[in-house]
Symmetry: C2
Subunit: 115 residues, 2 copies
Amino acid sequence: MNQRSSGYVASAAVFQLLAHASRLHILDELRRRPACVCHLQAVLGRPQAYVSQQLRVLREAGVVVDEKDGLNVYYRIVDGYILRLLEETLGPAEPVQCVAGCPCPHCTGSTGCCS
Amino acid sequence: MNQRSSGYVASAAVFQLLAHASRLHILDELRRRPACVCHLQAVLGRPQAYVSQQLRVLREAGVVVDEKDGLNVYYRIVDGYILRLLEETLGPAEPVQCVAGCPCPHCTGSTGCCS
DNA sequence: ATACTATATGCAGTAAAGTGCATGTAGAGT
DNA sequence: ACTCTACATGCACTTTACTGCATATAGTAT
């Protein structure tokens, strides 16, 4: 075991987080702007519990943090290194857009993300 | 399924390849210079069959290619995108070095990698 | 041909991750 | 206090990946 071995294990753990289509989708959405769970649920078209579980994985890895705002919990990316990997892999983030059928404050227009 | 969904699956597959300490170690070694299996075996300190299996995964994914030279089979990275991810993650490649106990032509000095 | 070296492959057991569902919690409104 | 909404958690099940070992192949040399 040379001095770089632990680095391989750590790096592999980071890649493991990204080696998952749903988590990639979540992170791609979060880099556009912080989003609540119900928004991600609408974007992914997956059950809420499923989305929460993937968010937990990302949260426990320190990649995202959650912030409560009333009933909603907003998640955002706090790891700049992850952002660079996303940019390298998926290209630049797409502009913010509303999601049809999403009940969250951002998408129902009260805070106005739709032009 | 939006038009980006297939991209998430494909990207996740790439990250899956890198989400493995031994494969990262192999790729980190290969970016210094192409290497034969026995060299990687010496570097990793793992059984030959194990190294070959990880190489197969990388080969079938199109990340590395193999070239026969006599009895030896040399592998090298052919995916520039992977190289960029490695650079982003592990930093710049370290200089070429000989491995004690490695029987390959490069390390036994006949082709001279050791100064 | 035989034997040796370098590498590849197949298979089985084990460990880990992914998935779905039921249920728990906590804040907001009435 | 009750209820509703948004979200979290725990658990069982399934699937996938990792690992080790035995064995196969292919080139080289004698």
